[in-house]
Amino acid sequence: MTEQLSDKSKQALINLLYQLADDDFILAFRGSEWLGLAPHIEEDVAYSSINQDTMGHAAMFYKLLEDLGEGDVDELSHARKSTLRKNAVMLELANGPGHYLKEPNYDWAFTVVRNYYYSQAKKVKIDSLKQSSYKPLADAAVKVSMELYYHLLHWTVWFKQLIQAGGEAKEKMINAIKKAEADFGDVLSLGPLAEDIVQSGFIESETVLTQAFHKRMDPVFQGLSIPYSGRFQQINGKGRYGEHTEELVQALDTINEVYKINPKAVW
């Protein structure tokens, strides 16, 4: 299948796959830091299930990269430096102050908002990817879609319930929305090769995806009687361009702590 792709198209496809893989990988990592710390035990079980799915999606996208000759999946997920990562910055930000083993003062409101916004954006992208001109990617999108349906349900319940609770919960959620939106522009960006990605028919344009996203979010905010800004920034950097925060560097140090002892060894 890849024989039919021009070099330009292939590079665009690889770039898009890195975005998809790195997004899911880092968010699943952030989710795994919450293990044992979620607001209640039922949520610990449910959130952990979502993180496994998300890590599984990352593994599928890394496998597509491996098939395109980019290297071994474990090397791609563990060994690449932060500057080579293409994930959106919003997804790499720490869960809150502290370390996952020491004084983790994690912010559940930000976690809910980040996951809700991301799941909505992922839904828009995955729906578009089902029609991707690259068949293996379209097939992967169908598989992801089945699990994403439940993730979206889960985060929608949390998002609505915590805002509807009013008081301190609502206040925390509004602040978390501001924090997420300050870097959410990255999530809907297709990066430096956007034009080639779209022209090759791998996914629809940023404009189409963004409009579809607004169409999903606007009624939710209306239903909750809170204003929907629809304006997103990238204040901490442009992840699709390899710009990342120190928080990603620290995350990668944790992720590859064992792997780097001996990358050639079988673990």
């Binding site: 990592f29 795994s32 830091e33 293990l35 044992g36 710390l37 979620a38 607001p39 209640h40 035990i41 039922e42 610990d44 079980v45 952990s48 299930s49 993180n51 496994q52 890590m55 599984g56 990352a58 593994a59 890394y62 999946v73 474990d74 997920s77 563990h78 996952y100 083993l101 004084e103 983790p104 003062n105 994690y106 559940w108 319930q161 915590l162 609770a165 008081g167 301190e168 919960a169 925390k172 944790t254 992720i255 590859n256 702590e257 064992v258 792997y259 002892i261 001996n262 060894a265 079988v266 673990w267």
Partner: protein
């Protein structure tokens, strides 16, 4: 069955006859206070140990060295949390007539009134520990839990059936990590041996003292009387040796106890007793990681108080 007209003694005799006949006791059935209390203690400790037990392995979830291992250990730790939830639900039903709730369980954990298993107070400093916990700690848990599969209390026996089935996968997951390390580089082999050395004594302690002499008290007799368990602590420890000593040795590992051997005359394994005074200290939350792990649990409880508050009207209405 309707026992409202019976005296306490008649109810008790009927209850004991049901247990002897192998009938299952259900949450709403009449039961002696001693039975209820011993079950609450046993099952809440089991449940909270599953939850606290997620913490040492959780350390290794973000660090697992491959995508396959990441997915495996994520699923494994999630199962443990799931077991905790299942067991707390069973305990909640038992505590209901006493007016106690899950909140009390958590508070008892924080005050030290509710203990968790000795193994989960220990350090897990390397990836070798992550494998060893799955292989041998879960292996030991399978031995103690299958001993209670026929427990007279129906809800616990049913929960254990599901838990044991999942623990078998965990032991296989742990064994796969250990096998990869044992067949790997010198550094990886040393990592496993190191973990075995570290965990050997806690593993012996896991089954509890052989008799009341070691600690002054033992619930073994009460649990046997009520048909909750059949084998003694020592019998279970011997079963563990029979199953795992040959496996450990076959991987080229050594057991850090030069006296360890099987005596044909005595028909049992001879071994060095662990330090039971140390065991007592550990389960009183004075183990190497007790306070740190309790702090994690407590911090999450405090930090998320606003979430519980926000959800409570929905729960009340529901």
């Amino acid at each position: 069955m309707n026992q409202s007209g019976s005296t306490e003694q008649e109810k008790y005799e009927l209850f004991m006859n049901r247990i002897k006949a192998g009938e299952k006791i259900e949450a709403d059935d009449w039961m002696p206070e001693e039975y209820r209390k011993v079950l609450i203690k046993l099952i809440s400790m089991h449940g909270i140990s599953e939850i606290m037990g997620a913490l040492p392995e959780k350390e290794w979830v973000p660090k697992a060295p491959s995508l396959k291992r990441k997915l495996g250990i994520m699923a494994k730790v999630q199962d443990e949390m799931g077991h905790g939830q299942l067991l707390l639900r069973v305990t909640e039903d038992l505590m209901k007539p006493l007016g106690r709730t899950r909140e009390d369980i958590m508070n008892d954990l924080f005050t030290g009134d509710l203990k968790f298993h000795n193994v989960f107070h220990m350090e897990a400093p390397t990836w070798g520990d992550a494998g060893l916990i799955g292989w041998l700690v879960d292996g030991a848990a399978i031995i103690t839990q299958t001993n209670m599969l026929g427990a007279s209390y129906g809800p616990y026996a049913r929960a254990l059936k599901r838990i044991c089935a999942e623990e078998v996968f965990h032991a296989q997951h742990g064994e796969a990590i250990i096998m990869a390390l044992a067949e790997g580089t010198e550094e990886q082999k040393a990592m496993v041996q190191d973990a075995v050395n570290r965990w050997w004594e806690p593993l012996l302690m896991f089954f509890g003292p052989g008799d009341a002499k070691a600690l002054g008290t033992s619930k073994q007799d009460i649990t046997a009387k009520y048909g909750i368990r059949t084998k003694s602590n020592e019998e279970l420890r011997q079963d563990f040796f029979t199953k795992y000593v040959p496996r450990i040795l076959s991987l080229g590992l050594t057991i850090p106890d030069s006296t360890m051997h099987y005596s044909k005359e005595a028909e049992q394994w001879i071994y060095q007793q662990p330090d039971w005074a140390e065991f007592k200290k550990i389960v009183q939350n004075k183990g190497p990681k007790s306070q740190e792990r309790l702090r994690l649990r407590k911090l999450s409880y405090e930090n998320n108080e606003w979430v519980r508050k926000a959800l409570s009207p929905a729960i009340d209405a529901g």
